[in-house]
Symmetry: C2
Subunit: 335 residues, 2 copies
């Protein structure tokens, strides 16, 4: 605990932090206490080596999500169906009642999953939550992922899907949102739209974005093993992102958008939690947007690990997070 640290790998001096007990906080709802207090996901240690091993992991994770979709759709009063945006696979996700103000508005959803998980229907829960809580029509992009295709296939699909979607409604009434890899892809999409002269969305929501694959960011250390979802920057999610990158420079802003030129970005809302391994990478994007003069709102939720604001639709914090984003969109999207 003294400051007489040894030299560290990055050239600074290390301080030693002693072991400690981590109680489940009572400052969140009972539903969130269950998520926050759960043990670290053991899968973070896995090291799949072949496409088959990756596929097995992805399928194993997808099964319970897909099994839960009918009940989730029922509770949120949302239905979905397959569609395509240009030749990109997608889903249309529509609430039973589109809010009157949202009749001519449209959201594009980019799911998360470290660029590898949540293919097809498994990518839909966040889109369903937004459609249901926010009363928005949503298109969710089922972009290509490894082992089907590698960088920049996911982003190419998202750009193509956005280009097609932006012909369906006025882009001034459209927003793009996503969490984790989806939060990064949201930022990467805007970087690409800027450089290619595509229309920009009127607002974006980037939830705890994987904005820096170079493993830079202080909460990679301070929240290591405290975040029970990602657990460690040396964990499975980083390996999945590197699998997607396929040897490409991880500091490329199209993989690590915190290094991109964010001037001219549309208004952005960012979401994280105090235990989030990517809290630093969320606030660093927030600071960068603000430094560029972009309107950017930050919401950090008590005690939540990575993306836990979308894990349980019964938690009041989940509704709160989606209503914050919906309200942000409502103020910025043309009707």
């Amino acid at each position: 605990m003294s400051g007489n640290g040894k030299p560290s790998a990055n050239g600074g001096s290390d301080r030693e932090i002693a072991a400690r007990a981590l109680p489940t906080p009572k400052s969140v709802s009972p539903e969130m206490q269950k998520l926050v207090g759960a043990p670290p996901r053991p899968a973070y240690k896995l090291r799949p080596k072949t496409a088959e091993e990756w596929r097995a992991l992805v399928d194993e994770a997808a099964a319970p999500i897909v099994a839960g979709l009918p009940a989730l759709c029922e509770r949120l009063a949302v239905r979905y169906e397959r569609t395509a945006l240009d030749d990109v696979r997608a889903f249309s996700v529509v609430p039973r009642e589109v809010a009157p103000a949202n009749r001519n508005r449209l959201l594009l959803h980019i799911h998360g999953g470290c660029y590898v998980w949540n293919k097809a229907e498994a990518g839909l829960p966040e889109a369903i939550l937004m459609a249901g809580f926010g009363g928005f029509k949503v298109l969710s992009v089922d972009y290509r992922m490894p082992p089907e295709a590698f960088f920049p296939a996911a982003l190419d699909d998202v750009v193509k899907a956005w280009t097609a979607a932006a012909t369906m409604e006025d882009p001034r009434g459209m927003a793009v949102f996503g969490t984790s890899a989806g939060g990064a892809l949201t930022l990467e999409l805007v970087l690409r739209a800027k450089s290619e002269g595509l229309p920009l969305p009127a607002a974006i929501a980037s939830g705890t974005p994987m904005s820096d694959l170079t493993k830079t960011g202080d909460t990679f250390t301070t929240n290591e093993m405290i975040d029970n979802v990602l657990v460690s920057r040396e964990g499975l999610c980083q390996r999945a992102a590197e699998y997607y990158a396929g040897g490409h420079d991880l500091a490329d802003p199209l993989l690590s958008p915190v290094y991109g030129d964010v001037s001219g970005f549309p208004p952005a809302i960012l979401t994280s939690g105090t235990r989030d391994l990517l809290l630093s990478n969320t606030v660093r994007v927030h600071r960068k947007l603000r430094q560029a003069g972009v309107e950017a709102e930050l919401n950090v939720y008590e005690a939540q690990s990575h993306a836990q604001y979308m894990f349980d639709d019964a938690a009041p914090e989940t509704q709160e997070a989606f209503l914050e984003i919906a309200r942000f969109f409502d103020r910025r999207l043309a009707r």
Copy 2:
């Protein structure tokens, strides 16, 4: 590291977090790296027992701050002088050039220091930074503190000072700001102003507020020993606040404003850092304001411990933090 925890004091189950090395992050400026990488302040362990021991600590801490004021004023092009607001001690802090938009605006500053430190001139650095970076006229309240006086003396002085200041300019052109205990007193002032029918400021800035003296808040655990300023919730700052409370119920919203009714609050900007022991108590206030429909902006700075955004005027993050607050005020204060 397993989730098979033992029962914890608060009734939940504890997870065990292993010891770890904490490097100095390169994702902040060199100036901020010096602050962030410093060892924990050893004073956190002290347990003063008498008024004399408290006075000695307070005087020891004040000396270098006061010694640095002339150079700080020179660098920020700010001057100050003693004044009084009603019969409350105060300082007038004025930049060489008041920004044209700020001619008829006035800020009230409430310094921090755990309700015990930073009496007289030692409370001025934050006011000087705001006057200099923001181009605002500032009045800084030198409220009574232990051992001179105990709860609710500090708040009584702040309320009286605000009441007097609000006759000097139109309150629609006025804001109140402060950090730590000053951030809490800012919130407590608005609670009192609401209940007593006083005018409200047009905006407030509450920096990493000591909003919960009951020691509730998840980052009290996750950032323990990582925050090198407050270090531990069982540290000297908590003892100082309890010394001020003088046996009063610590859950009283006038000591723990996170438990207050914040409906009708003016627009608020909140500031914290990812290593801040009070990050939870900052975001909990932010959430509470948002849940009450209050316009509230949150800025969390990479790797900073408690209040480090005001420790070095040469750090770019310091200017950034004060300019964010100044910009927030500029948008909400009448001219």
